[in-house]
């Protein structure tokens, strides 16, 4: 019976496990060691749950959980389709890498300040957002993400962190209000909150003012969460203040959830990529994507703090995702899905690498961190994999991600967007090569400066993520086929609705 229950709850475990973990870590608050054990166990179990969910979804197309036994559209349902299950798996991998890394980075003081419950809570929220089939429930997970992230950013209680957390919270709340207004209007117009049901209800409807406002309010809210220009200020204003493990996790997960929500809602509810309910979404998305790419990469070029530099690259990478969505074709959506899986892993890896650089040199300042090639060759190679993947060098995952999205742009007659993407890709490489030249080449001129050892935990975390980006690159066929299936599942919500 228990085994049966475990199997039937497949869709909920990736959320329930970290939630239980968060509750337990709150209870064992006094012992950082036990807290860590609970957190690591929770992450491992969650990853296992995501794996089994993915296996199941690959077999059955979808895994559904109707909470309280109230089926859609009356109750809340989790509808783990291919997209959600795959992203949940990637979340698990990112979480595992951060959990490993945290052994070296998060000490007892930070654990006492609540790293473990906040981290687990954030993971639950991320998985919840990926798996839920209910629009308001999605909003709840965004709220949980916000609280957890604010807590994580201000973990050390340094004034700079609190400052960053306030900026983050203030702007995120505006985004949350946008989302809430959008949801409210949509509910008022249709009387339902179930995403698939909304899609079915709206097919063929006249675009009323309410629907139009709802769509664009949701776009604004999700774009803010995703960190798109001109709504992205919160990200570079706060990410660099957090402990680096936290920054890495936030970088890998949060903005992607924002984009995911865009993708899910705009495609399934408003029919982007198929029969559009509200006109005008793809052109605006394309403008946003292009502007974000250009602004973020230029701003990144002017940074001397590695974390700020990488923070702007997060923004730029999300723009590539948005570009895939803006193409409003199933190839474009598939390319955005591939890109999302890649960028979650690589962004995390880069920030973890930045933390290791700072550990070796004692500084995040690019100008003060030379000479790692000579002294830390293995780490250098690991970081190179990440940096090259971000720059889109084959055969790493980053190359395929860029390739499919640019290819899709050309095929969707959006050559201008493809050209912008290529130029920004060049500037990304430019920025990465500067970073390389500054922090891996050169010598430690001052004899007093010692390059400290990088703890093994940090290396293991990076090895895990490096293996993933190489693995995706080599097994791109599997990933792309899967993403194509996921995209067609997304653009044909009827097939999901039927299985309920």
């Amino acid at each position: 019976m228990i085994a049966d229950a475990i199997a039937r709850g497949a869709a909920v475990w990736p959320v329930a496990i970290p939630l239980i973990g968060a509750a337990l870590t709150l209870l064992v608050r006094r012992s950082p060691r036990i807290q860590r054990g609970v957190m690591e166990g929770g992450v491992m179990l969650m990853l296992g749950a995501s794996v089994s969910l993915l296996v199941r979804v690959a077999r059955d197309d979808v895994a559904v959980m109707a909470f309280g036994g109230w089926g859609a559209p009356f109750g809340i349902t989790f509808v783990a389709d291919r997209l959600g299950a795959a992203l949940s798996l990637v979340t698990g991998i990112v979480a595992l890498a951060v959990a490993i890394y945290a052994r070296a980075d998060i000490r007892a003081r930070r654990r006492k300040a609540g790293f473990d419950p906040l981290f687990l809570g954030m993971l639950a929220a991320v998985n919840g957002a990926f798996l839920t089939g209910d629009l308001f429930n999605l909003y709840v997970w965004f709220e949980l993400m916000l609280v957890a992230a604010v807590g994580l950013v201000s973990l050390d209680r340094r004034p700079a962190q609190i400052d960053g957390a306030i900026r983050y919270a203030a702007m995120s709340m505006v985004g949350a209000s946008f989302i809430l207004i959008g949801i409210g209007l949509l509910y008022g117009e249709t009387g339902t909150l179930d995403i698939a049901h909304l899609g079915v209800t709206l097919v063929g409807k006249e675009p009323t003012l309410t629907l139009g406002t709802s769509a664009f309010m949701l776009l604004a809210g999700f774009a803010l969460k995703a960190g798109l220009f001109p709504l992205f200020f919160w990200l570079p204003a706060s990410y660099h203040t957090a402990p680096i493990s936290v920054t890495a996790a936030l970088a890998g997960l949060l903005t992607k959830v924002g984009f995911y929500a865009c993708l899910r809602v705009l495609v399934v509810v408003f029919g982007v990529g198929g029969k559009e309910v509200v006109p005008g979404i793809p052109p605006l998305a394309a403008l946003l994507a292009a502007a974000t790419m250009i602004v973020s990469v230029l701003a990144a070029l002017a940074q001397v703090d590695i974390r700020r530099l990488l923070a702007f690259h997060i923004v730029g990478q999300v723009a590539y995702l948005m570009m895939g969505l803006a193409l409003a074709s199933s190839v474009g959506i598939a390319s955005a899905i591939v890109y999302m899986m890649h960028t979650m892993l690589v962004q995390t890896g880069l920030f973890l690498g930045a933390g290791a650089i700072a550990r070796a040199h004692g500084s995040y300042d690019l100008r003060q961190a030379p000479g790692l090639v000579r002294d830390r060759p293995l780490f250098t190679a690991l970081f190179a994999v990440m940096a090259l993947s971000l720059s889109g060098v084959p055969p790493l995952s980053g190359f395929w991600a860029k390739f499919v999205v640019i290819d899709a742009a050309f095929r969707a007659d959006a050559a201008w967007l493809a050209v912008v993407a290529l130029i920004v890709g060049f500037l990304t490489l430019y920025s990465m090569s500067t970073l390389w030249s500054d922090s891996f080449w050169g010598t430690t001129s001052r004899q007093t400066r010692v390059i400290r050892t990088i703890p093994p935990a940090m290396m293991y975390a990076m090895i895990l993520l490096g293996a993933c980006t190489i693995g995706i690159g080599l097994a791109i066929d599997v990933v792309f086929t899967f993403a194509t299936d996921a995209a067609s599942q997304l653009t044909h919500p009827m097939s999901v609705g039927m299985t309920r």
């Binding site: 709150l26 990144a300 490489l429 090569s433």
Partner: protein, 917 residues
């Protein structure tokens, strides 16, 4: 088979790192050279196949969904490159073993790894038939070149040169990627063989112009053609073996390779050949000019390489079979003599530490064998018989005579070749034979490893010309056939044919070259004094663009990183507005107006008026206290609205929340200055006000629009109908919260629990809470202290009642928790936080954790029994004859209760301590 070779090359490069440590300074070069050498021998195995005009193919599926397979193809042209790559590679590795004898062991290991990886990448590039696989290796060569140029990364010059090279070639790489994607779109295939076979079809594609631009940019950046030529002379900062290998013999010819493969397409496209030749001529002239001005040994060689690459591009551009023959011949000849000269330059550099040609002289005394090798290579470079260079030059002129072009390329070729003759003379005579006595002693002499490369290659330059049959049949002819698409009968030029046109041209070239050589000194000095070219060189433009870009980047960063939260918020809100307006324009709808206006209701109107008043008051408020009161007013109005619309639960909750906020904010206000002077200017206030007004106008319009839709009540009807029947609760709101949408509640409960941590860690004691507690106790008020106990117990009992009856009447876990928290708040205010904490016994965070755990756990029985998480189970028991229906909703609600209690207390205690500090 060829895939095995490629795999072997890769494994060999991976093994280079440990092996070079294992075999130390002397042996590792020789030993590691076995990797390329054995590959060279293995490739020779293909001679019968290639000579018969066949190609070797190998295919493995990789990503069929993307049209990308690992398709390798060894034809005549690839074969020529494969032999050059592996053959020269072996010599380079041997040479590097001694050249790097001064370096530390890890540095040498790094060099060997990089150079062998580079060899693998080069092999991969020329063996790939799939353009995307070719691109993979193409990018790899760029990056390895970057790492090798920046090998001596201690000093800034190599770093700058490496960055420049990477930026130029990687930029070209992206152009290539764009071209490849467009080729794939046009042909539905990424195969090079398809590009060649369907060249005419490709030339008709609507994308042909961007495709050609992409291919040309890629080739021009890689092969250092104008306007991208400047990176190559700078790349001479690389260790000399790398320069010899990458920047003269192999990598820079990759661009030529690509152009040659695309030649049918370029030929079929309008003005394709003209473009190639125009850029090639510009490159040749500029490079020749700069070669005369250059001072460093390696820089002179680099510019002569650029000129030679220009010649190769020109030969690709010229039509006719002989042009292909000349191109293939020149690739071989150039690789042989230029690599030799680089080896010799490296030996000189290694021996003397000097880099300027002017400072060198008479080195034949110290480096006799090197000098001879340099002389042989120079004679070949000058195109004198009986060297390979002579043959290739004859073909070059023959191709020009036979092509349909006018005399301009011919004239330029004569001039540039003359300069190359002079360069050949200078780089041999100056350092080795002239200026005896300039160098008194050398740091390193010749060693076998340093000699193998130059000697073998320079002798080959002679032998292949004397015994041309084997190389012609096995390599050249198949290579020409592979590029040209048809077999071309080769008739080698010879002095026996008497004075032909081409021979005459050669003689003219050598004559002019000898003149330049004679007057090298004054020409060189005169040209050096002319700095105009530096100002108009594209390198200068590149630097300027880089600088401007840096300034633009800095300006962008300042623009988006000003750090003013209020401005950020304004922009964010305004953007949201802009989005909505865009949506309205795109939708093109006006608000639908209701047909009949609903009746005027005085109650709601009055309440709304109060709310609006509160909002205005909050905006106009000058102190925090008045702001708090005004905001509180809007909160109570919200609660009233809930009540009037049939949601007393929500109203109760809202009231409780508002009360608690007043308590908590009062605690905050105790430690804040009450006066908060306005920091906004008049203009900012106006802007803010107009944004707010616009936003509310839009929302109002939309709400009016929404109100006209026929009420879609599907879901709420269901809730009302099923609340008691299926969920056993009369209080619909509570049933929605714990059952219908219980999972939302669970999520929100977690939000609350996590905010407890946030409060606790942010407000918690930074050093120790003892001092604060003492102060708090000092403020105890006697009357309050006496009555607080009573109220505490009353509130506690009340909270439990609210919790229990929640499912059927007004109440529930949330309000219950808030009520209980009020009790503790009273105690805390009256007797101090310590007293309240003592009465609580449990840590507030543990309370929140336990509550959260309970709430989640209450969902598990339903999952186990019915397969639905949070499906509530019901049990009817008789208590004293009264049937009481109780279910798992109770532990769920209790969990919520505990979380709310714990969190509010975490805030409360934290704020109290914060206030007491």
């Amino acid at each position: 088979m060829i895939a095995w070779l490629l795999g072997f090359a890769f494994l060999g490069s991976c093994a280079a790192w440990p092996l070079s440590f294992l075999f130390g300074r002397r042996a590792s070069g020789w030993l590691l050279a076995l990797v390329p050498a054995s590959l060279f021998v293995a490739f020779l195995d293909f001679v019968p196949t290639i000579a018969a005009g066949r190609a070797v193919e190998w295919r493995m599926t990789w990503a069929p969904s993307l049209g990308v397979d690992l398709t390798l193809r060894l034809d005549g042209f690839s074969f020529l490159f494969a032999l050059l790559i592996t053959g020269i590679g072996a010599l380079v590795v041997v040479y590097a073993g001694d050249y790097l004898s001064n370096e530390s062991a890890p540095s040498r290991a790094r060099f060997f790894t990089l150079i062998l990886l580079f060899m693998t990448a080069m092999l991969g590039a020329v063996l790939s038939d799939n353009l995307l696989v070719l691109f993979l290796f193409w990018e790899a060569t760029s990056i390895l070149s970057f790492l090798l140029i920046g090998f001596h990364a201690d000093s800034p010059h190599p770093r700058r040169a490496a960055l420049m090279a990477l930026r130029v070639t990687a930029g070209g790489g992206l152009a290539l990627l764009a071209a490849i994607i467009l080729v794939g779109m046009s042909l539905g295939s990424y195969l090079l063989t398809d590009v060649t076979a369907r060249a005419y079809e490709l030339a008709q594609s609507p994308w042909i112009v961007p495709i050609l631009i992409g291919v040309l940019i890629a080739a021009f950046t890689k092969s250092a053609q104008f306007p991208f030529h400047f990176w190559l002379p700078n790349a001479m900062q690389a260790p000399t073996p790398a320069s010899a290998y990458l920047h003269s013999a192999t990598m820079v010819k990759l661009g030529i390779y690509l152009l040659a493969r695309f030649e049918p397409v370029i030929g079929a496209a309008p003005r394709g050949r003209d473009t190639l030749i125009a850029f090639a001529l510009a490159t040749m002239l500029i490079a020749a000019f700069q070669a005369l001005r250059a001072e460093n040994f390696k820089t002179v060689l680099a510019y002569s390489t650029v000129a030679s690459l220009g010649i190769l591009v020109m030969l690709v551009g010229l039509d006719g079979p002989i042009a292909t023959v000349a191109m293939v011949g020149f690739v071989l000849a150039h690789a042989l003599y230029k690599a030799t000269l680089f080896f010799c330059a490296g030996s000189v550099l290694h021996a003397t530490g000097l880099s300027k040609l002017r400072a060198m002289g008479g080195l034949v005394r110290f480096l006799p064998v090197t000098a001879v090798a340099a002389a042989l290579a120079s004679l070949s470079m000058a195109g004198l018989p009986p060297f390979v260079g002579f043959i290739s030059k004859e073909f070059l002129f023959e191709a020009q005579i036979q092509s349909s072009w006018n005399a301009v390329p011919m004239a330029v070729a004569v001039l540039v070749n003359a300069v190359l003759v002079a360069v050949a003379g200078v780089v041999t005579l100056r350092p080795f034979f002239l200026g005896r006595g300039k160098v008194k002693h050398v740091k390193h002499g010749e060693t076998p490893a340093l000699l193998v490369g130059p000697v073998v290659l320079s002798l080959l330059g002679l032998l292949l010309s004397l015994e041309p049959d084997w190389i012609t049949a096995a390599v050249m002819r198949p290579a020409v056939a592979a590029v040209y698409g048809a077999d071309v009968a080769l008739e080698l030029p010879s002095l026996r044919h008497g004075v032909t046109q081409t021979l005459a041209l050669s003689a003219v070239v050598v004559g002019i070259g000898a003149l330049i050589l004679r007057f090298w000194g004054p020409i060189h000095a005169h040209l050096r004094s002319r700095t105009l070219i530096d100002r108009y060189d594209t390198e200068h433009a590149f630097e300027a663009i880089t600088r401007r870009g840096g300034r633009l980047a800095a300006a962008t960063a300042r623009w988006v990183q000003h750090g003013d939260l209020r401005k950020y918020l304004w922009v964010v809100l305004a953007s949201g507005m802009a989005f909505v307006i865009w949506g309205h324009v795109a939708t093109g709808r006006w608000p639908r107006l209701p047909d009949t206006l609903p009746g005027w209701r005085i109650g709601p109107a009055a309440v709304a008026l109060i709310g609006i008043g509160g909002a205005f008051a909050a905006v106009r408020a000058r102190t925090l206290v008045s702001t708090m009161v005004a905001v509180g007013l809007t909160g109570f109005v919200a609660a009233l609205t809930f009540m009037m619309n049939g949601a007393p639960d929500l109203a109760l909750t809202q009231f409780a929340v508002e009360s608690l906020i007043v308590v908590l904010l009062t605690l905050v206000l105790l430690v804040l200055p009450l006066d908060a002077p306005s920091t906004r200017t008049r203009r900012e206030r106006t802007l803010d006000a107009s944004l707010a007004a616009a936003f509310s106008l839009v929302v109002f319009g939309v709400l009016v629009d929404m109100s006209t839709t026929s009420r879609a009540t599907l879901i709420s009807d269901f809730f009302a109908a099923h609340s008691y029947v299926s969920a056993f609760g009369r209080n619909v709101v509570n049933v929605i919260l714990v059952d219908f949408r219980g999972f939302d509640t669970l999520g929100e409960t977690t939000v609350i629990a996590l905010s407890a941590i946030l409060a606790w860690s942010l407000l918690g004691p930074r050093t120790s809470g003892a001092g604060g507690a003492a102060v708090a106790r000092g403020r105890t008020i006697f009357i309050l202290s006496m009555t607080s106990r009573l109220f505490f117990w009353l509130l506690t009992v009340l909270s439990v009642l609210i919790l229990l009856r929640g499912h059927n009447q007004i109440g529930g876990g949330f309000v219950g928790g808030l009520t209980a928290a009020l009790g503790f708040a009273l105690i805390s205010l009256a007797d101090g936080t310590d007293r309240a904490r003592a009465m609580l016994r449990v840590h507030p965070i543990s309370l929140a954790g336990g509550g959260l755990f309970l709430a989640i756990a209450s969902g598990l029985p339903g999952l186990i029994l019915h397969g639905d998480f949070l499906r509530h189970l019901w049990l009817e028991i008789d208590v004293f004859g009264i049937p009481i229906k109780q279910g798992t909703t109770l532990p769920f609600d209790l969990g919520v209760y505990l979380v709310v209690l714990g969190t509010v207390l975490a805030f409360l205690f934290g704020l109290r301590r914060e206030a007491a500090r």
